[in-house]
């Protein structure tokens, strides 16, 4: 099962390595990770997405996360509601005649062209993971040449 965990940590060197270590030591891969400073610059917020084969092990990881000296709070969003979003930048093959088709897509999903030169356009889009997945399927029809995602960001509601 996929888990989204948010961790509030001290904004110090080495903290990310400590957190990543708890997952890697158990052979767990982090599917996505987003880290950034909060309003308080001494604190960072992490959103970690991890695929857990064994719920008990994940519970253990959560407890171990809490035990790290630099960790302030841990929230597992599988047990708590949250709003989540992901930002995507996609470089696609684009000619002006595609404009209408693209706009139709953008009517359905939140996205826009943020750069255009020659037959290349860069699309910016924001959505939850399902929306992003469907958007990318649509964009793929144009030919996606390059793609970057922020990974999931989650906030409790």
């Amino acid at each position: 099962m996929r888990h989204t965990i948010s961790v509030l940590v001290e904004n110090k060197f080495g903290v990310l390595a400590r957190i990543a270590g708890l997952f890697s030591a158990r052979g767990y891969n982090i599917s996505s990770l987003a880290v950034s400073e909060t309003l308080d610059p001494t604190i960072s917020y992490m959103t970690i997405v991890v695929e857990a084969q064994d719920e008990k092990i994940l519970e253990q990881i959560n407890k171990q996360l809490n035990k790290l000296i630099d960790v302030i709070t841990v929230t597992d969003f599988t047990k708590k509601e949250c709003i989540d979003r992901e930002l995507v930048l996609a470089k696609i093959v684009y000619t002006p005649k595609d404009k209408q088709k693209l706009e139709a897509i953008f009517n359905k999903y939140v996205g826009k062209i943020i750069y255009h030169k020659g037959d290349i356009a860069i699309i910016e889009a924001v959505g939850n993971q399902q929306q992003i997945k469907m958007l990318l399927e649509e964009l793929n029809k144009f030919g996606i040449k390059e793609l970057v995602k922020t990974g999931k960001l989650a906030i409790s509601n």
């Binding site: 940590v9 001290e10 060197f13 080495g14 390595a17 400590r18 270590g21 030591a25 519970e59 253990q60 407890k63 171990q64 809490n66 035990k67 000296i69 630099d70 960790v71 302030i72």
Partner: protein, 555 residues
């Protein structure tokens, strides 16, 4: 003052009396400051010895043990000692030198990423990048090491930080917002636990190292006597409850007593205090104590429900919680039938061994040692058969009298740890129960003992084998003794060449005399006992079996 001096002044503020360590290139400024500083420094002969000695010192006193080593190999040599302290929750501060800050990450001479290496084996670690942070970091390090569930903390100090100048300002108060250990148990949970205890028919107290860490031994005794429940101890819990008490079942688990294991399996309530249901204790998990409800008291929330499903978890300090629990227990359970059953198991399945006549039995030596000291000694051990016999055949009456590597099972731990313990409590007789294999792993510390007149008494049970591995090979690998026969030096001559005293014992008749002589001798003594080569540790639960399925549980 410079960083080195700040370090030493800070250690003094923390009440550090002794530092174990070894000099090197990247700690020269610290050693220069040590040269005329008022603190005892013990120069070990290997950094691993320094780490274990600091650990032994901490176990004997409850205070934070301190070790110091240079960068690179000095620091990596501490690693086993740090991991050992981590597994057994021992408060320790390890200080390492590091190459200059401008060289970090450069593959500089004697450079190793020590905070990286020790990250998973420390409770926390620090790389000091600015001398202005040093005093504060040391304060935090000692606080973290000794509070909550204790553990080792490493401070890596680059050589330029050791030389840099700053004002020394000692933070009197410490508050780490992200680290707030829970000391007091939830009152509602304690009430529920008390009700469960009152209704139990076959309760058992399963006491671990947390009893000793928290200083809860007297309260534990009060609790056991009040509710008339038998007490079994984990390896780490030995000494937390008097081994000669009528409610004591001794140690449980793989090499526990048969009656402790039967009682645990048949119980209807397990009161776990400061113990973590380690695999050496539970054996096969799905068959473990099938009818028992479990109350689990532990300061570390991550220990609870890790291996065993717990009915009433109580997070907090054992001492505080037992105290409250004693107040809450209104109705005393009737355990008279249960205690009768346990007595019958004690009679039916006592710890036992057969005397073969000619060759010395290790159990006999320990019985004699018990008879001679009656628990008034500190018993350190190495790892393996000698260690397990020491758990079974010596009774530990008071906390901090049994010092041994539990979680990590580190051969070579006992001798330097005994050194640390003896230094901490010179008025006590300190023994190290060793095998001929283990003692050779840190035997260089003989020089440290002799040079500093740390009179440790080392009892070497020489069977010519790496005995515990041999025992497993005998039982599970068709007696294919692959690389377990091991040769040793002449331990008597070896001891003498270091300036210590060596005694060799071959016969039962000489055991007592040799032990008495060792105690009387004001020097480090190696007593080598030539024991039965293929003596086994019984009873034994094969790995992964239910703990009542013991081999030779029955006499």
């Amino acid at each position: 003052m410079n960083g080195s001096r700040i370090l030493l002044e800070s250690l003094k503020k923390e009440g550090v009396e002794v530092i174990f360590g070894y000099p090197g290139g990247q700690v020269l400024p610290i050693f220069d400051a040590l040269y005329d500083f008022d603190v005892k420094f013990i120069l070990t002969r290997h950094e691993q010895g320094a780490a274990h000695a600091a650990d032994g010192y901490a176990r004997a006193t409850g205070k934070v043990g301190v070790c110091l080593a240079t960068s690179g190999p000095g620091a990596t040599n501490l690693v086993t000692g740090i991991a050992n302290a981590y597994m057994d929750s021992i408060p320790m501060v390890a200080i390492t030198g590091q190459v200059g800050t401008h060289l970090i990450g450069n593959d500089a001479f004697q450079e190793a990423d020590v905070t990286g290496i020790t990250r998973p084996i420390t409770k926390h670690n620090f790389l000091v990048k600015d001398v202005k942070d040093l005093a504060h970091i040391i304060r935090e390090a000692f606080y973290i090491a000794s509070s909550g569930r204790p553990g080792p903390v490493l401070i890596d100090i680059p050589v330029d930080v050791q030389r840099a100048e700053a004002e020394f300002s000692w933070p009197e108060k410490i508050d780490i917002r992200s680290y707030q250990p829970t000391y007091f148990g939830h009152p509602g949970q304690i009430k529920k636990a008390a009700r469960l205890i009152s209704g139990a028919k076959k309760p058992i107290i399963y006491a671990g190292g947390g009893i000793i860490t928290s200083g809860a031994h007297n309260l534990l005794k009060e609790l056991a006597e009040k509710i008339q429940a038998p007490v079994t101890m984990t390896f780490m819990g030995l000494g937390g409850f008097p081994g000669d008490h009528k409610l004591s079942l001794g140690m449980l688990g793989m090499h526990g007593t048969a009656y402790a294991n039967h009682a645990t399996m048949e119980s209807d309530l397990i009161i776990a205090i400061g113990a973590r249901f380690d695999d050496r204790v539970t054996g096969r998990l799905d068959t473990f104590a099938p009818d028992a409800k479990v109350i689990h008291i532990d300061i570390d929330p991550s220990s609870i429900s890790k291996n065993i499903r717990v009915d009433i978890p109580i997070v907090g300090d054992a001492k505080n919680i037992i105290e409250k629990l004693l107040e809450e227990i209104k109705k005393i359970p009737d355990t008279s039938d249960w205690l009768k059953t346990i007595d019958s198991w004690k009679k039916k399945y006592p710890l036992t061994y057969k005397k073969s006549g000619k060759l010395l039995k290790p159990q006999y030596i320990l019985e004699e040692l018990w008879d001679l000291t009656k628990g008034d000694a500190i018993i350190c051990t190495e790892v393996g058969q000698s260690q397990m016999w020491a758990c079974q055949w010596y009774k530990y009456i008071t906390p901090r009298t049994f010092i041994s590597s539990g979680g990590l099972g580190t051969m070579g731990f006992g001798f330097p740890a005994a050194m640390g313990a003896k230094l901490a409590i010179p008025e006590k007789e300190v023994f190290n129960i060793a095998g001929d294999g283990s003692i050779q792993m840190n035997i260089q510390e003989l020089a440290t003992c002799v040079a500093n007149k740390i009179n440790v008494k080392v009892l070497i049970f020489n069977n010519g084998f790496l005995g515990m591995v041999r025992q497993w090979q005998e039982l599970f690998y068709k007696k294919r003794y692959s690389y377990t026969p091991i040769t040793s030096p002449d331990f008597v001559k070896l001891a003498e060449s270091y300036g210590a005293v060596g005694i060799r014992v071959k016969n039962e008749a000489d055991v007592r005399k040799a032990l008495e002589k060792a105690i009387k001798t004001e020097n480090t003594v190696f007593v080598e006992f030539l024991i039965e080569p293929e003596e086994n540790v019984w009873p034994m639960v094969p790995a992964g079996q239910a703990i009542n399925k013991m081999i030779k549980g029955l006499a």
